[in-house]
Amino acid sequence: MSQFQTISTISLCLASVLVIISMIMSYRQELKLEKDIFISAIRATVQLLVIGFILSYIFSTESPIFIIGLLGFMAFNAAYNSAKRGQGIPHALWISWFAITIGAWITLSILLVTGVLSFTAYQLIPVGGMVISGAMVAIGLCYRQMLSNFELRRQEVEIKLALGSTPKQASKAIVRDVIKTGLQPTVDSAKTLGIVALPGMMTGLILAGMPPLEAVKYQMIVTFMSLSTISIACFITCQLAYRTFFNTRNQLYK
């Protein structure tokens, strides 16, 4: 980035008048949301200031152990959240953690090897956060779709088993559908980039003073890395999760 467009504290305070506008709207429309709007604005301010200080500290560190540890912590939290969507799937937490870790590790390694990123907290932590959170959402979608498919298409799976197929062969169509479900939002979003909406990150970079063409390059990398991580994470999740629907006799669990 060549130069930053900084925002003065006075400008920020004046911009807070936007919150007052929404409070007035609420009052006029008798929505009784004035208190909630006020509290949410205060909370947002405090939370963002706190995270700003934390990020300033994190980005100032160069310890590889700290960077990897923090990425691992983010991956575990993401796995924990996505596993909530997979209640009923044994080992959902560890499957998610493994899928997210491998997906993020491959993507970040490629970005490091190709020189797109350097091994600094300033670059790895926010980019890692993007890929990990993308994988978390996609894995959650995969789990929900898988649970629903194995319930709704139980007869199909049993028929295929009765014909002598292995669990892998009997689940192939379901696994394919589930991976598609996990990938679809990212693929759709990639298709409409720049047409339907300017992505938040790109907009942020432009607002911060980066030339649009440079911001576009960053956005392209974000799009590619999201597609890569989510594909890997969905594939690993589905390949490990479908087997948990079968017992050692290759029968579907009740």
């Binding site: 002598g164 197929s165 006799r249």
Partner: protein, 218 residues
């Protein structure tokens, strides 16, 4: 030596007994019909025979070997199972007919497919039909063809004619008779008294998950 031997098998789900202490010996070439009131456990018994579920207690042996010692896929390829409700997966008849070849990694044997379509009175061009273009009777006949692509040694039939009209029932019954004449062992659930007596050599009655009666018919 019995081909399929069920010894004191019970099946319990969530503390509810579905099958209780059933023993049955099935010989090569047998045609056994299973009758009994709805909910008596007939379909569960057939599923146990197909190895889609395992008994809570008791043992099932096939050719004197316990099922637990036989690879499940190898066993299910010898013991065909046709469900009560006809169900075709994917979108087309073709995908269903080719599935048994796909899972074995084999090329389709068109002469075998043509023979089975002919046997079940189905025009071969139905291969290209979409599943939703078929009537219930046609779907059940396709399901039967799918189960017979590789001729099983034992065929388990769960009320396959219960939802069919007279014409379709007659076609399916004739095919089952034909298969039995070729030496395939048939175990068939039916609600139809006349059907249960027509050709079977044994009839067993299941009531409340227990073997209530066993009759030798021929």
């Amino acid at each position: 030596m019995a081909l399929l031997e069920l010894s004191n098998i019970s099946y319990i789900v969530k503390d509810k007994s579905i099958i209780s202490d059933v023993s049955l010996s099935v010989n090569q070439g047998d045609y056994i019909t299973i009758v009994g009131p709805s909910g008596s456990g007939k379909s569960t018994l057939l599923k146990l025979c197909s190895d889609l579920i395992s008994p809570t207690s008791g043992t099932i042996t096939y050719n004197d070997r316990p099922l637990t010692a036989i690879d499940p896929e190898s066993y299910r390829r010898e013991v065909g199972y046709c469900f009560q409700r006809p169900y075709l997966f994917a979108k087309t008849v073709r995908r269903n007919i080719l599935f048994p070849y796909d899972i074995r990694g084999l090329k389709p044997d068109m002469s075998r497919i043509e023979y089975l379509f002919d046997l079940l009175h189905m025009p071969l061009n139905y291969m290209e039909r979409r599943n939703d273009e078929l009537s219930g009777g046609e779907m059940q006949r396709i399901c039967l063809i799918r189960s017979l692509i590789f001729e099983p040694k034992v065929l388990l039939l769960d009320e396959v004619t219960s939802a069919l009209d007279a014409t379709n029932t007659s076609i399916v019954e004739n095919v089952i008779d034909e298969l039995h004449k070729k030496g395939i062992t048939i175990i068939s659930i039916t609600h139809n008294e006349e059907q249960s007596l027509r050709i079977a050599n044994r009839r067993i009655t299941i009531v409340d998950g227990q073997l209530a009666k066993e009759e030798v018919l021929i």
